[in-house]
């Protein structure tokens, strides 16, 4: 009988090759059809190359054959979680170009709706953030509260997601008689529910182990890569346009710009949680003071902008959203460019994820809060 020999394996015999892995386009943590070409050595990420275009819809080309009120309908479909802010940006840009000022009532309602959108967006982000980290419960908690905001949206303008409520010159409809009562009831309730989010996830050991000290982004890099929104504010880049270039009714309210100088995944998480508190503060200051007046101005049937270039920046739930309209005096724009926050944010991922493990890449991705139609537009 042959004698069995023990095979000796030393670590010198094991070699790891660098290899490429496609993460996506159908991957639960890319939150849509995004493909990341990840260059790995073992578990260590060496390079991440995002590939987009799976749902490119050619919105910028489409706008060239549409009138200005029609363009608003397309912006809903870009970043559908901050649909109201996108509408507002187009409406403000057209109003600035025509040099008209909307009534105070419109400004107040727009601001309240924008903050409700931000709350709903951050709630959904919190849901999927937990899911990405393997905590399914967060999904039910978040959606439970988000449902109430969507009900308010539905009551106000008939749509739950693609609201299309802000139009050039004002609002599509006046608010529902129950609007103030419902919003106040929601805020009162959500103030007791938000601490639950902290109890469920923020202090969870598994969650903090995977997020604290992971995926640093410095302030200088955030600026250089054009990262905006809560993602950049977690790195100390004070970029909140509501504070620095107030539009609508933001100059009439007191709120804090949430900043952190840590810049890791957990800081980005905390900034969004704190922003929910600030959003509630803003709504509470406005909801009882909505002035009487018209909800829309009388606009011409066909809106023609004067010749020139017009730029409007607003703070959407993901960061700075910009609308750049080039007009040649006709009823259709000559060229429209949408500066979407997700586009710039996405391409900073390579810089951040280098050297971290593949599981950390998932955590970093979820704190970037990507919405793919916003990037692919």
């Amino acid at each position: 009988m042959a004698e069995l020999k023990e095979v000796m394996i030393t670590t010198d015999d094991i070699k790891t090759d660098e290899y490429l892995v496609n993460m996506g386009p159908q991957h639960p943590s890319t939150h849509g059809v995004l493909r990341l070409l990840v260059q790995l050595e073992g578990e260590i990420v060496h390079n991440v190359q995002p590939h987009i275009g799976y749902i490119h819809s050619g919105i910028e080309k489409m706008t060239e054959s549409l009138s200005y009120p029609q363009i608003g309908h397309l912006t809903d479909r870009m970043d559908y979680l901050s649909a109201h802010m996108n509408n507002e940006a187009v409406a403000l840009c057209v109003e600035n170009a025509l040099q008209i000022e909307v009534p105070d009532r419109v400004k107040y309602i727009r601001t309240i709706m924008a903050e409700l959108s931000r709350l709903a967006s951050h709630q959904l982000w919190w849901c999927v953030m937990g899911m990405d980290m393997g905590a399914l419960t967060t999904f039910f908690y978040g959606l439970r509260d988000r449902e109430e905001i969507l009900d308010i949206f539905e009551e106000t303008c008939g749509a739950r997601l693609t609201v299309n409520y802000s139009i050039p010159g004002g609002l599509m409809f006046d608010i529902h008689p129950n609007f103030q009562r419902d919003v106040k009831a929601f805020i009162k309730k959500f103030r007791t529910k938000l601490p639950e989010y902290d109890r469920l996830l923020s202090g969870n050991v598994i969650f903090t182990e995977r997020t604290k000290g992971v995926g640093f982004l410095s302030r200088e890099d955030a600026i250089a890569y054009g990262v905006t929104g809560p993602t950049a504010r977690a790195s100390g880049f004070a970029c909140d346009l509501r504070k620095h270039q107030p539009y609508s009714a933001y100059s009439k309210v007191n709120f804090n710009e949430v900043l952190s100088d840590v810049g890791d995944t957990y800081a980005r998480y905390q900034v969004r949680i704190q922003e929910m508190w600030e959003s509630m503060n803003i709504i509470e200051q406005l909801i009882d003071n909505i002035p009487e007046g018209d909800y829309a101005m009388k606009m011409k049937g066909v809106i023609k902008l004067p010749e020139g270039e017009f730029y409007q920046r607003v703070e959407s739930a993901r960061g700075e959203f910009g609308v750049f309209i080039v007009s040649d005096g006709k009823k259709n724009p000559y060229r429209v460019k949408f500066r979407s926050p997700g586009f710039s944010n996405l391409f900073a991922i390579n810089h951040i994820a280098k050297g971290w493990k593949i599981a950390d890449l998932v955590a970093i991705m979820s704190t970037f809060d990507l919405v793919i139609p916003d990037i692919d537009r």
């Binding site: 080309k61 600026i223 250089a224 890569y225 054009g226 270039e309 730029y311 700075e320 080039v326």
Partner: protein
């Protein structure tokens, strides 16, 4: 820095730049040959310090192509719009600014994809949304009989 001071400061950086106060921001136009040095100065100059490129747009202007850069200084809070025209419409080429502002790399990819403007010294110039068989859809003479219905 006020807008008037900004206009004078830009005149000192680049004599060939045509600067004026636009409806919203200070706007300047620079020749394509001088643009890279000019942009580098905008970033490096301590009093200008344009460190945040927040929008990069490509445009088809019938007889030439144009790229518009929206720049902001985070420190000084001033905004500048830089306009660069290409000499050739069919094969437009400009210098890349991706080593000055890393975010430009992907915005330039987008401009190349949709308008066909090529960028010199770009680290990875590739089509971002569409595949190689497409033309350049944001050009005004782009024809697509299947997907675009013209009235």
């Amino acid at each position: 820095m006020t807008n008037e001071e900004l206009i004078t400061a830009i005149g000192k950086v680049e004599a060939e730049a045509e600067t004026r106060q636009g409806a919203q921001y200070v706007e300047t136009t620079v020749p394509a040959a001088r643009m890279y040095d000019f942009m580098n100065q905008l970033k490096q100059d301590k009093t200008l310090a344009f460190d945040y490129l927040f929008c990069l747009t490509g445009m088809d202007q019938a007889d030439h192509m144009q790229v518009v850069y929206h720049l902001e200084s985070v420190l000084h809070k001033h905004v500048l719009v830089v306009r660069v025209k290409t000499a050739d419409r069919e094969n437009p080429v400009l210098d890349s600014v991706s080593d000055i502002w890393p975010t430009a790399e992907f915005h330039e990819n987008e401009v190349y994809d949709l308008l066909g403007i090529r960028f010199n010294n770009h680290p990875d110039l590739r089509r971002l949304f569409l595949d190689e068989n497409w033309g350049f859809p944001l050009r005004k003479d782009f024809k697509d009989d299947i997907h675009i219905v013209s009235r």
